[in-house]
Symmetry: C2
Subunit: 233 residues, 2 copies
């Protein structure tokens, strides 16, 4: 049989690109929707801009700092579980051995082959612990430098995504005119962003573009309706 070229079909987008997608997804929708909501309720573009900028700052910090702390927690969690597996391999090796054996049987091996594989694996405690971390606990070793990088990328992408819909209010006289330009430019950006995000993750790009724009429109429409209702009451 001829060996066809075989490409791995993992989702191989880089961590930075994934962080940009996370930040932009929320940054393009929430500040846009908030500004749209306020446009139906207040008379001053200045107020829409003040609230929009406050939201962008709040959202960037909450997402960025939250992401940073979550990343640090993941590093600590991995280190704690690693120490625990080392300890268990040392103190309850029979139990840990049986777990390896069970994992191999679950993969689809016969008892005899699973036993043979287990006997080989436990010769090297480092490899044994690595196996338990990855296949029993499903944990990959996190990169400690990733957390601060991710935090800055997500926060930056959120801010960029949020400033775009807001910039329309700088350039127009009334919140209503701002809303029109903000909605047009943001929906175009959501379509373009949804298209490329879907291509990146191997999904149908046109459907992805429409879903992204629909999410933004739904959030903005609901915020507009609620703000008008509250202000009118």
């Amino acid at each position: 049989m001829p060996q066809l070229p075989h490409h791995e079909h993992h989702l191989t987008s880089s961590a930075a690109l994934q962080d940009i997608v996370i930040g932009l997804s929320d940054g393009l929708t929430v500040p846009f929707a908030l500004a749209a909501g306020l446009s139906g309720a207040v008379q001053s573009s200045g107020l829409v801009i003040t609230a929009g900028l406050a939201e962008i700052v709040a959202g960037s910090i909450a997402m960025g700092l939250g992401g940073y702390l979550a990343g640090r927690t993941e590093v600590d969690h991995y280190a704690a579980e690693l120490a625990r597996e080392h300890e268990e391999v040392r103190t309850v090796p029979t139990t840990e051995r049986r777990e390896v054996q069970e994992l191999f049987v679950e993969m689809g091996l016969s008892e005899a082959t699973a036993t043979q594989a287990t006997n080989e694996l436990v010769q090297d405690p480092a490899q044994w612990v690595k196996f338990m971390m990855k296949y029993e606990l499903g944990l990959e070793e996190p990169d400690p430098k990733q957390a601060p990088k991710s935090a800055l990328t997500i926060a930056g992408a959120y801010a960029v995504g949020g400033l775009l819909p807001l910039s329309a209010y700088f350039a127009t006289a009334t919140p209503q005119a701002g809303l029109l330009w903000s909605a047009v430019s943001t929906l175009v950006c959501l379509l373009v962003f949804g298209y490329f995000k879907s291509r990146l993750t191997g999904q149908a790009p046109v459907a992805g573009a429409l879903k992204m724009a629909a999410t933004g429109a739904a959030a903005a429409g609901a915020a507009f309706y609620v703000a008008r209702l509250v202000q009118g009451s």
Copy 2:
């Protein structure tokens, strides 16, 4: 050697609890920070409440609908990869076999045992494909009913988390008084929430409580400063 009782130390919190944590983490910080920011810039509690409610609606929909669409995409992605692995096992079995072999060697088995294990695994194409999905691609079969449930839980938790800091502005006469009560009650909630969230994920609870409160305070402080700067300019 005596067999000590051995507890699995996975993070075994339920999916619903995880969704509540996701929604509350953002819901308790972003609307609180936005309201705090506006309190330094506007004279009317009504405006703070209007903007806060618009943000809660926008954020709930963006998070909920975004989570729902992401969940649907994951289900589609799994189905597409599954079909692809079935196809590959049928059309390029030699290549796929070699990949299984390489995975076993990477786990720490000798070439001989890896070959034996591979020979057993490929007897059953269903088990073979399952093995490739889980250990080559790292994909677990997603539950198609999970996406709508997650969406509603995250959106609901975000709204509950956001309404708490905002409720202080309903009960007070000026935004400044609202901010005081909002900050006190929200920081208490962030401490309690951070404490239980950390216990749930096996982290140090007091440190977790302080980190959560610090994130909320940083976001609110920055939003307050920016809103005042913008409104004063």
